[in-house]
């Protein structure tokens, strides 16, 4: 176990990055070399009483957890501007701060109006100024929206701060396990439990519109079955109950179908289940193990794991003519692949010299790049911005989640207070959207 990979690499200006009440903590273990130095100045609250959330703290934590920023603690700030007119430029040049995020919150009836400004210290110019409005319960979402906007301007990449992560925890002794399927914000807060069970839960996945999840649960007679849950209204239905395996549900991009794995016809094969009428279409017919289907972004093909060649490798099938092509030729074990949103590559579990890593296969050049330094890695899930991925691994004898940027430059761990954590799935959609108001 490479323990040194888990030592927190201290950034020059060190802020303990933890979400105090969160179930998942985030520890950045490697940031980019040329992190941008940013200061998120505590926002001004122009109403009475206290705000339900500390918006500048949330933005600060978001930016630092991305691994691309170093932030200045409020205690070191020489002044606390809330509007561009209040910025005294020298106070920030002295501290080598490159960007300021400042803002204020005003009450509007029983809603809140948030205004934030991104200021370039060296150019002495405003790069972004937005105002959004929301309710008390949306305050964290508003802060994350601000983080996403700032992130996009500074890096050119869509932020993933407004997204959610679904994962499974396993608690208790091996002989008396309790399993939970949870959904939390990407920063570890607001954990909601979707299912609690004494039998295993796995393979949870999101629909593309973020409204539904599908998962495998052994709760019925200790046998695997696939369930579909409406995340918005909290209802669920059991979709399959075939003998043998019922597994690996994956939503088609249009959300109308699920690719699933069934072994009812003698060995594990991939089928497509139409959700509305439960019709089944068999897609693979091979006596080997075919499993872990994942759709291509255009919905015309499915990539999957198969040991038809002896060892598990990644194959692709075209749904119109059912022609199959092998994709991986490096490494003696490749599995659980998923396609990047732009279709340029796939991430997968890849074994090299006996160690299981997460790797990316560049589909254009055919090159495999190992992304992780951890081992016993599994279940990679790509963030909707296509630039980060989250996966499950082992640390200190416990299952934890870790994340890495798709170019391998940024790494962080998400140890949980709750037992073994596994099977992460990044939501494809943001939790809330806001429309900036023009002032």
């Amino acid at each position: 176990m490479k323990l040194n990979a888990y030592l927190i690499t201290l950034l020059v200006v060190c802020i303990p990055v933890k979400s105090v009440l969160a179930d998942l903590r985030i520890e950045v273990t490697q940031g980019v070399d040329n992190a941008l130095r940013v200061a998120v100045v505590p926002f001004d609250w122009r109403g009475a009483g206290r705000l339900p959330e500390n918006i500048s703290d949330i933005i600060d934590a978001d930016l630092v957890l991305s691994g691309r920023f170093e932030s200045l603690p409020a205690s070191q700030m020489l002044s606390l501007p809330h509007e561009p007119a209040e910025i005294f430029n020298r106070d920030w040049r002295l501290l080598n701060v490159e960007y300021l995020v400042i803002g204020h919150v005003s009450p509007v009836g029983d809603r809140y109006r948030l205004t934030y400004t991104l200021y370039n210290v060296f150019k002495q110019s405003v790069e972004l100024r937005q105002t959004i409005e929301g309710e008390a319960s949306e305050m964290r979402d508003m802060a994350h929206y601000a983080s996403d906007s700032v992130f996009k301007i500074l890096t050119g990449i869509e932020g993933a701060f407004s997204t959610q992560i679904m994962y499974v925890t396993a608690l208790g002794p091996l002989t008396d396990r309790r399993y939970r399927l949870n959904i939390a914000d990407a920063d570890g807060h607001r954990v909601e439990t979707m299912l609690e069970s004494k039998e295993p839960i796995l393979s949870a996945s999101w629909s593309q519109d973020g409204r539904y999840i599908a998962y495998v649960s052994f709760e019925v007679d200790s046998r695997p079955a696939i369930f579909l849950r409406d995340v918005v209204n909290g209802t669920r239905q059991q979709l399959t109950n075939f003998p043998g395996l019922n597994g690996a549900p994956a939503f088609s991009p249009d959300g109308k179908q699920l690719a699933v794995v069934l072994s009812k016809d003698g060995n594990p094969d991939i089928y497509i289940l139409t959700i509305a009428d439960r019709r089944l279409r068999r897609v693979t017919r091979h006596y080997g193990i075919d499993t872990e289907p994942s759709w291509s972004p255009d919905g015309k093909g499915i990539i999957f794991t198969s040991n038809r060649g002896g060892q598990p490798q990644i194959y692709q099938i075209q749904l119109d003519d059912l022609s199959i092509e092998r994709l991986t030729f490096e490494g003696d074990y490749n599995a659980k692949a998923s396609v990047l949103p732009d279709g340029s590559g796939i991430v997968m579990v890849h074994r090299r010299e006996g160690v299981f890593h997460i790797a990316m296969l560049d589909l254009i050049r055919g090159r495999v790049t190992v992304l992780t330094e951890t081992s016993l890695d599994e279940s990679p899930s790509i963030a909707p911005n296509g630039s980060m991925l989250i996966y499950a691994t082992q640390y200190g004898g416990e299952g934890i989640l870790a994340a890495v940027s798709v170019d391998g430059g940024v790494k962080f761990n998400l140890p949980s207070s709750e037992g073994d954590v596994r099977e992460p799935a990044w939501s494809p959609q943001k939790r809330r959207m806001f429309k900036p108001i023009s002032e």
Binding site: G247, V261, S379
Partner: protein, 183 residues
């Protein structure tokens, strides 16, 4: 890996064997709760296997009359192991599996569930398929040895239910298994 346990409850059959004059060649004196000289009908004569005892199911495991002139009941091994990424039962378990097949063949009321498992390495769904392969391999062996397929159910837990939570070869070897569970 044969495990022989003598159940105290089988004191009566032990006594019956004693009464039958069954010459035990083993030196092992199995401790029993009581050795009450109870006369049991029918009193049997010379044959080595005097009475056909019903197999007994307890806690998912089955006990059968001990073979080869040994006294008492023998609990059959319920665990069978595999090499990494393999679905062939290790040779050491074959003889025991044959005993299971016989038990199932002889008693059509017995039901068995074969639970297949894999170690933690690799991906979860693939390991579910691997566990199922292993359980299927055990079923195929049992059926080939005469066990009726209708009495056998197969299920896989993949890497989800390890017996050893360690992350090393020794733990993984213990987890790559099929459990034969009588219901």
């Amino acid at each position: 890996m044969l495990r022989i346990t003598t159940r105290g409850v089988m004191a009566i059959s032990f006594a019956a064997f004693v009464l039958a004059g069954c010459a035990s060649k083993t030196e092992v004196e199995e401790p029993v709760a009581e050795v009450a000289p109870v006369v049991v009908a029918p009193v049997v004569e010379a044959p080595v296997v005097a009475e056909v005892k019903r197999p007994m199911v307890s806690g998912g495991k089955i006990s059968v009359p001990a073979a080869g002139g040994m006294d008492g009941m023998e609990q059959l091994q319920g665990l069978f192991y595999f090499d990494f990424d393999q679905t062939i039962v290790k040779r050491a378990g074959h003889m025991e599996l044959s005993k299971h097949a016989m038990v199932l063949k002889d008693d059509s009321t017995l039901r068995v569930r074969l639970e297949g498992h894999a170690d933690e390495r690799g991906t979860r769904e693939y390991n579910l398929a691997l566990g199922e392969r292993r359980a299927n391999a055990v079923r195929a062996y049992l059926v080939a040895e005469g066990a009726p397929r209708s009495q056998i159910e197969v299920i896989s837990y993949g890497e989800e239910k390890p017996v050893d939570g360690g992350h090393n070869e020794a733990a993984w070897a213990m987890n790559r298994r099929v459990e034969v569970v009588y219901r």
